[in-house]
């Protein structure tokens, strides 16, 4: 019966193209949106993941980096350094601001790092230096390209003209980028001489970051210490919380379009073969045999649609970065499982109505329906 389903499906090429294409586009909507958000998530947590820190220390109850403000006193760094298991502490300043080139303003997170910082700086450099000195800045390569900036050019950050001495990679997302300046410049420009934003802590070899983080919270007042993994998790949660409603709505729309297309094509396909199903019943096929045909047809169409949609998504995710945009699409295994499951539900639901139709078929129609 599976062969019959396969042949039925491929006999009408137009119907096949409509059903597979429709489902593919609907699933593409879900897959691509997931991939966009996964890309945004990955870019937003990129600095945390590549900071080199095992533990992030912030002001008490500040759980994430973006859209948050953390202020720690100077002495906090010394106190944290004294906690057992801590190898090194790197303070950083952080603020959301702009990179200004002429009249053009590019939203950016500005990181102020010590001139001799072992970590906390850009992790991939396209050209130039990887640490900024006084009067210098390292900006994202995409932003530089978009604004026509080259090494040695000046950009305005925090109201001051700084020379671009390095171009970094993977430091831009759909909405903003990261720029690195020296801690001294940051303090002068912002007037934050006695405070810092975060502490990047490296633990000693063999120490558990989670245990050391717990020790820091126990021994140093008014701070929150999280492992890098937890801190990145909190960051992702912020993105998810902000986008859940949108993703849910778009997913639902994609699901409903896929279901509508599939249900309509499977229904019309069954309707057009009503007489053939009736004849099979007359010859002795059981309803279950015929349900198999309809279900297999729906499943085959949806599977083809799924892989077609996935192929388009992968192609788009490959193409988009080549167009010089800051958008990155990442197809995650979780997204594949989600869309795969949605596809199965679409196949099952779309087969319901045709199955009811077949169940009600009178096999005697083969003698009557001339």
């Amino acid at each position: 019966m599976i062969r019959l389903a396969f042949r039925n499906l491929f006999q009408s090429k137009t119907r096949l193209v409509i059903s597979v294409g429709g489902v593919a586009l609907a699933l593409l909507l879900i897959l691509a949106l997931d991939a966009v958000f996964m890309g945004v998530e990955r870019r937003i947590t990129a600095y945390i993941e590549h900071s080199g820190a095992d533990i992030w220390v912030s002001q008490e109850d500040v759980l994430n980096l973006h859209m948050a403000s953390s202020s720690l006193t100077d002495s906090t760094a010394r106190k944290v350094k004294m906690v057992s298991g801590v190898d090194s502490v790197t303070p950083i300043h952080y603020v959301a601001n702009n990179i200004v080139v002429g009249d053009e303003r590019n939203l950016a997170y500005i990181i102020g790092i010590p001139e001799a910082a072992k970590f906390g700086g850009p992790w991939r450099i396209i050209s130039g230096r990887s640490l900024p000195g006084e009067g210098e800045a390292i900006i994202d390569g995409n932003v530089a390209e978009k604004s026509g900036i080259r090494l040695g050019d000046k950009v305005k950050i925090l109201g001051e003209e700084l020379e671009v001495v390095g171009l970094s990679e993977e430091t831009s997302s759909l909405v903003n980028s990261i720029a690195f300046i020296s801690m001294k410049d940051f303090e002068e420009l912002r007037g934050t001489y006695d405070t810092i934003s975060f502490l990047l802590v490296k633990v000693e070899d063999g120490e558990s970051p989670a245990l050391v983080a717990a020790r820091i919270e126990a021994q140093v007042r008014d701070v929150t210490a999280q492992t890098r993994v937890d801190f990145a998790g909190q960051e992702r949660k912020v993105v998810k919380d902000m986008s859940t409603d949108l993703i849910t709505i778009m997913n639902l729309i994609g699901f409903l379009i896929g279901l509508a297309v599939m249900a309509l094509t499977i229904y019309t396909s069954t309707l057009s073969r009503r007489r053939e199903y009736g004849m099979l019943k007359a010859l002795g096929a059981r309803n279950a045999n015929l349900y198999q045909v309809v279900l297999a047809q729906a499943l085959l169409s949806v599977t083809l649609g799924f892989f077609f949609g996935l192929a388009i998504t992968l192609f788009i995710s490959f193409l988009i970065p080549m167009l010089g945009t800051n958008l990155t699409l990442v197809v995650s295994p979780l997204s594949l499982i989600k869309v795969g499951s949605a596809s199965l539900v679409i196949a099952a639901l779309s087969a319901m109505l045709p199955i009811r139709q077949i169940a009600g078929l009178d096999p005697a129609m083969v003698f009557r329906g001339r």
Binding site: L4, F10, E276, L283, N289, P363, F367
Partner: protein
Amino acid sequence: MTSSSNGTTLQIAHVSKKYGSGSTEVTAVHDVSLSVYPGEIVLIMGPSGSGKTTLLSMLGVLLKPTEGEIHLNSTTISALAESQLPDIRLKQFGFIFQDFNLLSALTALENVAIVTELAGTKSGEARRKAASLLTELGLGERLHFLPEKLSGGEKQRVAIARALVNDPSLILADEPTANLDSKIGHEIMRLLRHIAKEQGRSVVIVSHDQRIKDIADRVLWLEDGEFKETVTMAIDPVCGMSVEREKAVSVDWQGQTYYFCAQGCRDEFLNTSK
């Protein structure tokens, strides 16, 4: 092939079918009885609306009679539960339809194989069986053709192969020659006769086609849901024509009755037999 203890393949006793109830009740078939023997071809004729389709549907257990019983090879099939009927239809009946009713997406081979697969035969064996039957019916070169690429006669032969593939004892044919030209119609009739006479299967045909009388052993006339007239057919031993016994010229010769289309054939028979 099996048959019941009284030697019949199919026996229907006082079968009626009524539709609706009260003032809207319509009797499609009324108190019909019939026995069909192995190797016998029974042709049921009658005007449109006479109840032929209803009767055929009941014979094929596609429709339950309101009254009466239908026995197939000593099983009372009219009393079987709905869940048992698909198996009976698959294994005991072969159906042949006026418009062939082949699955348009499957090849000739697959159209036949699918029916025996439904009966539980493994795919490879089903395909071998189907190929052998189709080759026997002269379609060896057409195994992998879709129905749309076959002529009317070829389609009907595929349908006949499909009807035979599960080795049924009874073939039910609904207007098997209606969509065929005269030559192909004759071919199909010969094939049906072969199925009955050489393979010992019972064949019940519902048709308007007078030519089928030539191969029938009995012709029943159904009108207003009842059998009005029964004609028993015989073959003229001289010219080979099919003749109605009741109207034919006959002669008893050495303890047997012979039937002729005309006096001339009778005289020729007697002259050559002396």
